[in-house]
Amino acid sequence: MRIICPVKRVPDTAAAKKVDPDDHTLDRDSGEAILNANDEWSIEEALRIKERGSAEVIVLCMGPEQAQTTVRKALSYGLDGAIQVTDPAIHGSDAVATARVLAGALADEEFDLIIMGNQSSDARTMLLPAMLAEFLDLPALTYVKQLDIDGNTLTAQRETPSGHVVVRADMPAVVSVVEAINEPRYPSFKGIMAAKSKPLQTRDLAAVGVDAGQVGLEGSWTQVVEATPRPPKQAGEKVEDDGSGTVGAQALADFLAARKFI
């Protein structure tokens, strides 16, 4: 079995974000960048599938040159190889453009399963899994909190607000996972060392068969008109309870009543 694991390089949540005043894109060098947290669960799930039977797991990342550190990080968990799509024309791509590039990179690849995070912490569109599936004409099982594989058939629990639905599809397919699916491991020292020499192919747009006019700021179908920091929220009133509970409860009830919540 061959599994593709798309991963994204994202700014650390705690890092200060800087947005280019002209094109409103994130300055991706302004703070520390990390492997998107939700992709740790998809990597872990791919590893578990690999360990249960046998599978080759390939990391797929669209990002600037510096994203190589993210790709190596993903490899350090014990994945087998990577494809990184890097091209200056990609800067500013939206979800559709990203899905197009990822699909282009997979057009000539053989694979049974694409397994990815359900959301990226920066863009957080949740569009990518379904869009990638649409470009590749595959079924998608998204928001999966449990995945079983029997022969060629996937059975997945898709998380709902109050439980889950069980959905079945044959591979090849796209799966996106939520945090509840597993407990990711840490990369081992051996894994970190091995990641340095795992095969990594870097491809440009031409190599993935995507026209520069279909990606980047100009080629994206959406546009950011304005991006501004939100003014920091001011802390409001603070009441110390006296240990009895009633002082805090009364004050809070008064506040809720004043704001007409009760």
């Binding site: 700014p11 949540t13 974000k17 939700n38 979800a95 559709v96 899905a99 920066d122 957080r124 569009l127 899994p129 379904a130 649409e134 079924p139 998608a140 099982l141 998204t142 928001y143 909190k145 629990q157 898709r158 709902t160 607000p161 109050s162 439980g163 639905v165 069980v166 959905v167 079945r168 599809a169 397919a173 945090e179 509840a180 179908w221 959406t222 950011v224 008109v225 304005e226 991006a227 920091p229 939100r230 802390a235 409001g236 603070k238 009441v239 110390e240 309870d241 240990g243 509970g245 805090g248 409860a249 009364q250 809070l252 009830a253 506040f255 809720l256 009543a257 704001r259 919540f261 009760i262």
Partner: protein, 322 residues
């Protein structure tokens, strides 16, 4: 501009978020409002849409909409887009619906803006306001000219107001499915929770609990407060990781983003990853025994105290005043 609204519904009635979006479509769009309603109970739901000014509802009440994930609904949505010819689609920001919209967007070459909290019309273009980077920044986004505009709208961004009273014409969609659209089969639906409480991402009020509760039992108190307020229940990652509450209630960077009118956090420190999922809530209230808890820096009202002491009399007081 005529705006098409993808109406989510439940047991034959449009959901609250759908009525909110229909109101936005009517008021911001300023032109006609069309609706597309899919799945079991769609016809009954569509019959209620005249109250919100919908003139035409495209309905597909077919068993395949619920028997197979995403793709039959995508085909139906594409059919509705063609028949309606509306240049703008508004849809509820909901995970499963987003899948349908994402596939349809690739098919009809539409741009998609997710998670709008406000809308304005600029000529023929709808401009959406949305929070980015976990609410650290605000942005205004749009779809490029000449393309269908798909915009996801967050719950409670608008207030539902009936109006524009009209006769709603029901058009049954003719959707032809090939076998390929039936490749992700729904074989079971499992409800882990008793109904009755609002869904977290739709709720106007949320009461969230964290590690400070100490154990799963503590969530009973959170649920009691939620029920007194008519709120949904949320949780921090520390609480869901510990197995005290189901993961689908996790608020934050790796969980869900919420922006209710009222967020009450008890025993939650307010780590940056938690704030990334709730800091755009309109009113934030926090109860924590640590006077320096980071959540207090964004709280409109803070109670420094033991939640086990404060919550029981608070619940009493709320019940009394209601």
């Amino acid at each position: 501009m005529t705006v098409l609204v993808l109406v989510d519904h439940d047991a034959g009635a449009p959901k609250k978020i759908s009525n909110q979006i229909l109101t936005a479509a009517r008021e911001v769009g300023g032109g006609g409002v069309h609706a597309v309603v899919l799945g079991e109970g769609a016809t009954a739901s569509a019959e209620k849409l005249g109250d919100y000014g919908v003139t035409k509802a495209f309905v597909w009440d077919d068993g395949d909409a619920d028997a197979f994930a995403t793709e039959p609904r995508t085909a139906a949505l594409v059919a509705a887009l063609e028949q309606s010819a509306a240049p703008i689609l508004l849809y509820p920001a909901d995970p499963f619906i987003t899948d349908v919209v994402a596939r349809a967007a690739v098919r009809v070459e539409a741009g998609v803006v997710t998670d709008a909290t406000d809308l304005e019309l600029d000529g023929d273009t709808m401009i959406a306001t949305k929070a980015i980077f976990g609410g650290e920044m605000a942005s205004r986004c749009k779809v490029r000219e000449g393309r269908p505009q798909f915009i996801g709208v967050k719950a409670n961004a608008f207030t539902a107001e009936p109006g524009g009273a009209s006769e709603c014409q029901i058009v049954v969609l003719n959707v032809s499915l090939d076998d390929k659209t039936r490749r992700a089969e729904v074989i079971d639906t499992v409800e882990q929770e008793a109904g009755g409480r609002p869904e977290m991402t739709e709720a106007s009020f949320i009461v969230a609990g964290g590690r400070g509760l100490g154990d799963a039992e503590g969530f009973k108190l959170i649920e009691e407060l939620a029920d007194a307020l008519g709120a949904a229940v949320g949780a921090s990652r520390a609480a869901t990781d510990a197995g005290w509450y189901p993961h689908q209630h996790q608020i934050g960077q790796t969980g869900k983003t919420v922006a209710p009118q009222l967020y009450v956090g008890a025993g939650i420190s307010g780590a940056i990853q938690h704030r990334a999922g709730m800091q755009t809530s309109q009113t934030i209230v926090a109860i924590n025994k640590d006077a320096d808890a980071p959540i207090f820096s964004i709280a409109d009202f803070a109670v420094v105290g033991d939640l086990y002491k404060v919550l029981p009399p608070l619940i009493e007081e709320i019940r009394k005043r209601k």
